[in-house]
């Protein structure tokens, strides 16, 4: 009975509910707030302030190589063998056979090394005993020393046979070993030396050794990296077409930027005691519209030479050559004002351009580097004339008009601008395939600080602005189809009196603070 009653009750309720209950409310809340200073815009560069004027020192390293790139020691295996010419019978226990020092050449192409120091690498030592009793192996590598002590390893290898010798192997660290590669005579280069000494088991029985017995050791050097080298480093050429992108500039779709008083330097720094030749083939950039501008200057094309570094270890001092470009010797201004997001530099650097003129005394230390750097000094005195930045973001907002939803909205932006630039923001709401459905134009512009007077508290000009974006019902109805939003901002650097764009100096400690808030007229539906 009670269920029937409850059912009747429910039917009564449901049958009465012919439409939804709804009402409208206004909801306001802060969305975003932040303060952007020059540090936010040039976070990979150095800002310097001179007499209240700001200069951006932008540096990119195009090439940075050290010993590990210059001198590559290939993985090398050396073998030393002891085998008697005649059969030796009844050799008493504890008899020692000393093999002569053997030399092994390391293939380093045209590099001729006299000495190196290993900072990382290892050697695998492997010994073979074909004798029927235990044998003591002493493995030595003359010229390979650590703190003046020669590399030496001793192994007691159990009995084996000619057909199946007993093998013992071990991996050893070579870090911090000095290797003299001048051979036994001390006049050669790229030579590794080894020496093998065998002793029959002192506690064993007399044995016989014939020519069929091969007592052997192998030393395999791998992953050898050096932090010091001396010799002749060859005439190797390092060339590259280095590309570096400034993505931010890709967002500029139109307008011009005036950059007076800029300078650019290409610097080749030589931290190795070896003569170096350098050559800059070209420097060019391409902007978002596809326009390419090449830097033209007498400095581009000719060879230039850099003397070897001087000093050693902690006292090493690099030599360098700087190619300077400025508006007087190049088209630097138009090159930079092309606003190229894609930049390309072609150059080459050569060691020992005249061959082995140091008689094999090239020398490199742990801190020896060859670097190619590009650096630019951009005084923040910019003239912006309709410079338009455009960026696209994916968005995915949904609302169901059968449920509680926003009917219209107002997004408002309050800005305090201490930059001498004005900005007209526009938002484009687009479909997935890029069709613009709605355009939201700001009610006013973000005004330049040139419109303000100096605040005596912080000595800055700051101009407040209030911009509103109305979000109409139609835009909200299309929300399900809106998948992208384009934020477009057109910048000018207006003269406060004439309104015409002209280069304006950015104030030291300039900032832009903003607060983004929303007011939404929401229809609540139950």
């Amino acid at each position: 009975m009670k269920k029937i009653l409850f059912l009747c009750f429910l039917i009564g309720l449901v049958s009465c509910k012919k439409e939804e209950t709804s009402w409208n409310i206004d909801v306001e809340a802060p969305l975003l707030h932040d303060t952007l200073s020059l540090k936010n815009w040039v976070n990979d560069s150095t800002l310097t302030e001179t007499n209240g004027e700001i200069e951006v020192d932008l540096t990119r390293t195009l090439l940075d190589i050290g010993l590990s790139e210059l001198i590559k020691i290939p993985d090398t295996s050396v073998t030393q063998l002891f085998s008697p010419i005649i059969t030796l019978n009844n050799i008493p226990p504890g008899t020692t056979f000393v093999n002569a020092i053997e030399e092994h050449a390391v293939d380093l192409d045209d590099v001729q090394l006299k000495s190196i120091r290993v900072f990382d690498g290892r050697v695998k030592v492997k010994v073979y005993n074909p004798l029927g009793t235990k044998v003591l192996f002493k493995v030595q590598m003359p010229g390979v020393t650590q703190n003046g002590v020669m590399f030496e390893q001793n192994y007691s290898v159990d009995a084996g046979s000619v057909t199946n010798p007993t093998v013992q192997e071990e991996w050893l660290e070579l870090s911090n070993y000095q290797i003299d590669l001048r051979g036994v005579s001390g006049l050669e280069y790229n030579i590794l030396q080894t020496k093998l000494t065998l002793t029959t088991d002192p506690n064993g029985v007399p044995v016989s050794i014939s020519s069929a017995y091969d007592f052997k050791f192998e030393a395999s050097l791998s992953d050898i990296k050096v932090d010091y080298a001396k010799g002749y480093f060859g005439s190797k050429v390092f060339s590259d077409n280095a590309n570096f992108n400034i993505d931010f500039l890709n967002m500029i779709t139109e307008g011009t930027l005036d950059l007076p008083g800029t300078a650019l330097q290409i610097t080749v720094e030589n931290g190795i005691k070896v003569p170096v030749r350098g050559q800059l083939h070209y420097l060019k950039n391409t902007n978002q519209l596809g326009n390419t501008v090449s830097l033209t200057s007498p400095e581009i094309g000719p060879n230039f030479y850099i003397s070897p570094a001087v000093g050693s270890w902690t006292s090493l001092q690099s030599n360098s050559q700087e190619l300077s470009f400025d508006p007087t010797n190049s088209n630097l201004e138009s090159f930079l004002e092309n606003l190229g997001a894609t930049n390309e530099a072609s150059y080459e650097v050569q060691l020992n351009p005249w061959g082995n003129t140091t008689a094999g005394n090239d020398e490199a230390f742990p801190n020896s580097r060859i670097k190619v750097k590009a650096s630019a000094q951009l005084p923040l005195k910019l003239g912006l004339d309709g410079l338009t930045l455009r960026d696209t973001f994916d968005i995915n907002f949904k609302q169901n008009e059968a449920n509680t939803h926003v009917e219209s909205g107002l997004i408002y932006l309050d800005v305090s601008n201490a930059f001498p630039f004005s900005c007209d923001p526009v938002l484009y709401l687009m479909t997935e395939d890029g069709q613009i459905l709605h355009t939201l134009i700001g009610s006013s512009q973000i005004s330049s600080c040139e419109m303000a007077t100096v605040d005596p508290i912080d000595g800055l000009k700051k101009q407040p602005s209030h911009i509103e974006f109305n979000i109409e019902k139609e835009a909200l109805s299309d929300l399900a189809n809106i998948k992208k939003i384009i934020v477009e901002a057109r910048f000018d650097s207006p003269n406060a009196s004439t309104g015409l764009s002209e280069p304006k100096q950015v104030q030291a400690k300039a900032f832009l603070s903003f607060k983004l808030r929303m007011k939404l007229n929401t229809k609540v539906i139950l």
């Binding site: 409850f6 039917i11 009465c16 209950t21 206004d26």
Partner: protein, 404 residues
Amino acid sequence: MRNVFSLVFSFCGLTVFGQHMLPLVQDTTGKYKGSITLTSNGDYASNAIGKNIVQSFFYGGFIDQNMKNSSIERLQNINQFGLDMNAELSFRSKGDLTKKENSPFYNHGYIVQAGYHQFSSLVFSRDAFRYAFEGNSLFLGDTADFSGTRFNSMGYSKFGFGIFNRSTNNALTLNVISLNQFASGNMETASILQDSQNDTIQMDYTGGFSFAKNGGFSKGFGISFDVDYRIQTNENDHAMTFQLLAKNIGFMLPTQMTRYAADSSFQYTGFNLNQLVQQNLLSTMSLADTLGIEKGTEKRALLLRGFIQFSKLVDMQATQRIQSFYGARMFLSQNYIPYFFAGVHGRVTKHWSTGLSASFGGFSQLKWGMYSSFQLSRWNIGVASENLFSKTGESIILQVKCAF
């Protein structure tokens, strides 16, 4: 059309008030062996919320600013809204329970009854209403205070068996209760401060919300009793009957609840660019953590929202054509204030009686009521309203009684 729906709604959905609310009559079916009575009641009232808003919740519709403004004009610092809907079917047999004169049950009949009750109450602040129906814009530069806002809603079905004295009509009924719905919440202290610049939202809150957890029709069981005690007196040679009525006095056994509680504060100033870029925005889970809301379970017994009423009844067999009735009622709810009523009853014809009433209390203030009762052979049909002309509530009571 809405009135038709109201009628159907009330008929289908409601209660017992014919027995204990207006018209309040002494039993007139003495010559019959028994009766079946269907009573239903739909009543809601507020001291502020307009009935046009409540009707929008019942029947649907858009709540426009004029409707809101009318309610806002009536808002006080603390406001009430209550809803009482119920339906009950009762069978009373005057057949003897026993023939033994020395038995305590001699001269007693029995009662079998079943019904469904829904009782909801809400106490809310002025700001809570405006925040909910107008949004937060009008609170910029101000503090919205929700402290003291609380609500309670309980729905249960009952099945009972009882006895009554055929001479005095005193009755006692024991009911088994099945809990169908329960939710309650309170904000002991709660406020939202939003500065005039819309830079900061500061929330401070202490409160909780809990609801019966188990799925299905029945979420728990309990017991209750109904008592109907009549007192006969004489005044100026006129017999008078007073009634002490207690309905649904009982409790639910400990029932599993899900509870959300918070005693915290939270400040929101919007996001900064780093948070936006890193998409380190609030997720649903972390939102609860950020707001300091703790979720838990608990088991607790519940007091049924029954009521106690004392009133003077109308005697349908009295010789005088005009009678008075009056009384007081109190629901066992902290959101309900004592309810007082009084009225006059007139017998217009042999078959038609009618009356007027005035009442004060409950969930609202002064209310006017009216009823009519039609006696047709074995049938008695009553239609009443305790709240006829109010802008903040409605009431309808229907009773159909058949004697046999």
